[in-house]
Amino acid sequence: MSEAPLLEVRNVAKAYGRGKRRHEVLKNINITLNEGEVLGIIGESGCGKSVLLNLISCLEPVSGGQLFFKGQEYTGKKPKDVCRWFQVIFQDSEAAFDPKMTIRESMHENLKLLAEGTKNANQRIEDMVSMMGLATELADRYPRQLSGGQVQRMAIARGLVTEPNMILCDEITSALDVSAQAMILQYLYELRKKRGLTMMFVSHDMALCATFCDRMAIMKDGEIVEIGTPEQIMDHPQHEYTKLLLDAVLYTR
């Protein structure tokens, strides 16, 4: 069904604890994401951005609401059922790679688990690595032998090598220097043009999201308070909290 959105999140809620200690971290979240779209999710620490990604990728069960992939409900599935659709990329990628495996070996693991034939595995890995602008020799190094920016690009390559429908990025550039951050964005942008990559990009940096997201969602205390195109959000913010966040963005000129 090409009409159905790639991902639909309907009335999703998440709470931890029970009884008096029950704490709602996500309330009534509604998101639809079409193929090829990039959605930025912006909010401060503790607003529930990362939990939302965990719910979508089934790393944690939802407490309420439904999840749909291409129009079919997948609420309550296991991570292994959905990891062909979604690949998650985390902030600290050096910790997400096995330190005792070369990058190439780690990627082979991923391919073995997820992709059907592994015939051209090496070729696919090398293609993906060079698509992220890295020399293919670097794939034979260990994670600690690469710089932070390079490891992060390798993590994206590892996520994409299995050709998922969508990647979920959780603060992937927050630990990096501005130059390394800009490199990553450039390559993601290239990938979007070449492959129509669908992406959910969680970040606390509004200015950054505004440069390449199609839509931005502003989260506060577990709720989406505003959602719109970068123009709407950056130039005509409606919600008080969006205005507050915008006011705190520091530009160099």
Binding site: S45, D177, Q181, M183, I184, D205, L208, D247, R253
Partner: protein
Amino acid sequence: MDDKYLLEINNLTVTYGQFKIITEVSFKVRPGEIVCIAGESGCGKSTLIKSVLGLKQLGAQITEGSVILDGRDITRLGVEERRQILGTQIGYVPQNTRGSFNNIRKYDVQYKETMNAHNLPFIREDAIKLFKRLNFPDTERLLSYEPWEMSGGMNQRMAIALAVLQGPKLMLADEATSVLDVTSQKEVIEELAQLRDELGWSILFITHNLGVASHIADRLGVMYAGRMVEYGDIRKVLDDPIHPYTRNLLAAIPGKDRKMPVGLEGRPPLDGAEWEGCNFVPRCKYACEECKHKKYSLNEIVPGHWVSCAEGRGEK
């Protein structure tokens, strides 16, 4: 009083064992001035602050140059002498204040301990007065909280307040806002600027965030691989950057125009590796034969703007 400086760093070279981390860095801070030092991770920014605070415990060594505070050479002070100037003359706010407070002891106990360690009395009312001046919430009860009950931003502000109480003239802030959310980041830097205005502090502020620098600094230094590559009045450096590295840094920051930021391939030389010629050559698109063989030093191009690059190299 134009020639009066609070902090002078002259031709400073710092090594960890055989590795040179800072090479021939010189700059001066006037009373009441905020100087920001920016650069990538590993460029020596933090070591620079630590060479003012004292390097002994780090296994690093100042091999050349000097650090002069208020006319007094503090480069090679002993532990006891240094202890007398730390806190009372030099205040320090680290990046991770979670790690510098004891998480499960009340603030007032920790405040008292710190003040007494510097031979100062702890006066509760003074602290509360200061909190009020800085518009902290819940000022009366703040001191009876424990750090774990506070947000990261509030904890950072408590650390700044503690440094203020000791009444230093020079404040060193090492990435003091980098772990904070944008809204608390703004609060903290506005507080620092307010304190500067009211108390005439000088602040040496280390950050990798040029947006933060643009907001509070009077002067900006850009470091690359242990050297100062550009230094000058904040507007001159940000509006009219000359060194290709500074230009790259600025291009990498998402701006108001929502244009795609431009990155910089490669990484700085590791462990202070040195070669003949400019350190930036491998990543510089303007590098020429001359650059491969010549070391540039800071050169005043226009008054108040120093650059270490072949003059006008980055123009096109």
